[in-house]
Symmetry: C4
Subunit: 208 residues, 4 copies
């Protein structure tokens, strides 16, 4: 059993995040999915196929960390497993956001297979929790897209367990996953990633 007030707060943070992220153009149409932790065993997560700029209370449901719907007949996002592996692996993760911007999509398709996106020398890297200098290096892996979500979830888990200091990953032609202790941290990570993706693409346009 989960605490209803905690659910309501988590759901509201997801609805607010949707309005912001859709407004920025980072979650077009019915793309993207978002979640927030309720307690050790439950998360609030978006219902499958909903428009992220128009989320209402009924568009956020509860699942346990195995992905089972709790007190609900709704179907959660097809990618729910990509969220729950993060909550299972990292007890201090409080929110996970998957966005789907043009920049993330294009950049992830332009990078050669097997090659991560490497970011360095940007002052904005300090926006990620735990980073305090632009001299650090951020490594963002790009996983190949697939409709086999359990397999992809395993791949991502293998990676983030080995790189617990890295704040996000890309799926090719599909978008960004990032997480944080709170929804506010997580939203800051999305903002920072989108800024850096745009910088990288803008540079490629001129340098190439």
């Amino acid at each position: 059993m989960f605490d209803v007030t905690r659910y309501a707060i988590a759901a509201q943070s997801i609805i607010d995040a949707g309005q912001f992220l859709y407004g920025q153009g980072w979650s077009p149409a019915t793309s993207s999915n978002y979640s927030a932790r309720i307690d050790d065993e439950h998360i609030a997560v978006t219902v499958s196929g909903r428009h992220k700029g128009k989320l209402v209370a009924g568009d956020v449901m509860v699942v346990d960390l195995a992905g089972n719907p709790i007190q609900s007949d709704a179907r959660s996002s097809a990618e729910t497993r990509l969220h729950t592996v993060l909550y299972q692996a990292f007890p201090d993760v409080g929110a996970v956001l998957h966005t789907h911007s043009v920049k993330a999509t294009v950049l992830s398709r332009l990078l050669p297979a097997g090659e991560p996106l490497t970011l360095q020398g940007y002052e904005l890297q300090k926006a990620f929790s735990g980073v305090d200098t632009h001299e650090s290096q951020l490594t963002v892996p790009v996983f190949d897209n697939t409709q086999d979500i359990p397999a992809l979830a395993d791949q991502t888990r293998d990676w983030f367990r080995q790189h617990p200091d890295q704040p996000g990953y890309l799926i090719r032609g599909h978008g960004l996953y990032t997480w944080g202790r709170t929804m506010s941290d997580c939203l800051r990570h999305v903002e920072a990633f989108e800024f850096l993706f745009e910088c990288e693409l803008e540079t490629m346009r001129v340098r190439r």
Copy 2:
């Protein structure tokens, strides 16, 4: 005779669509035209030459599927025939949107004559009704622009009858036509197409 309440609801969905599409920059100035089905024989469609970001009730009129004005002295969009052939061919089409974005315009001019735009490997292809994997392929033909609308209408009809699973087409230097069962489906298609057009152009900038 058409049901007035159905007309009013269709007209409002068109006015709301105009505010959204103009706000996104996809229907500049007096470009674009929109329609929504009232019944088997009537559609609501924008009056010719109106500013799509400022549509009011008087800017949406009724025509029959032959394009004749019904209970109105107004003149419907010059491209009304491109709408009615869709409603005639597909009984389940409930809305047709023609938008006119920079991306659609530029992309349609850059593609070589006779060559369609081919989209594959994008997760967002799943935003189109009936598509459930990024491994599908979307083929968007580009028709040459002309002021001879009846001839163009015939060309598009020949094409979409042969490709009933494809959700839209481009007119060179002119923009996008897409349709759907409901206005909401149709707007989702516009969002998805615009996202994909931007991805393609962004990629061409870097790859070329």
Copy 3:
């Protein structure tokens, strides 16, 4: 003597235009200047150096067609003469807008000296008054920038008298001048020009 109500209406149309044009990013900071005809001998025009996104009643003054302030101690835009030559030459011009977008600035600097911008094959050319097919050709001359406004005014007059069917011109590194019978026509021309400038630049990025 001018009619005060006509002045008030002209001034309001200028204030509203400023909010729109600044909001679109086409009149940054204190750039740009706008005018609207009051009668055969007077126009309302923006006071020099005002922020176009924050225009208030006191930021619009009256001048006669020689550019003299009427019933005012304020100083009108340094480029007032570029407006008045248009009102003098074309009795049916009711509004003149000078905007200053990134696209107009960059495009005007990229074009070789003496070469106009030529636009053809765009459906949106029909947004200009009097144009009814995309098969027409739009020729937009680029004048070299100068702080000698009377000399520039003469140059522009020579040109638009010879090309009364053309709706606007560029000044290199400086922006667009366009005009129309009403403020609404004139704003539609700005929208259409900005759309076409963006299309041209977007194409140059890919084609080059």
Copy 4:
């Protein structure tokens, strides 16, 4: 002791600036920092790590020109010293804004080491206080980024003392510093710089 009303007015101008600059996309996430002069010995400045689009009264504190917090337990921006050297050197500086846009970031990384950004022939150069022709030349130095703020502060001071007529500088991969007599002047400078940065990048995309 500082005048509390002067502080309140300075703080409000900073909060309003934050909303504008964040809204334009020039101060993403927790990047950027802003200040405004209270009197000869005190400035109001943003508290470290706050989100610039959501500044509230408690996010602006007072420091003296040596950077010491006054009547506050909060910690001011890590870059406070880059602000105070400007107030010390120029008694007529009333506001300093540090923004962090994609354009400034990318441009500052693309310029070869030791080479300033040179801007000329743009009418918008007249938006900078004291410039009255596009025939002037603007020289914007690019300092290498460092977490050693006192050393960077000395470098910038050496430069702006030698070039008191220049309105701003860049830090590589980090953003823009600009200043003005009033917050309004300073905001106009940011707008003009961002416009010019975008023009330069847009030109590099096509010309390269």
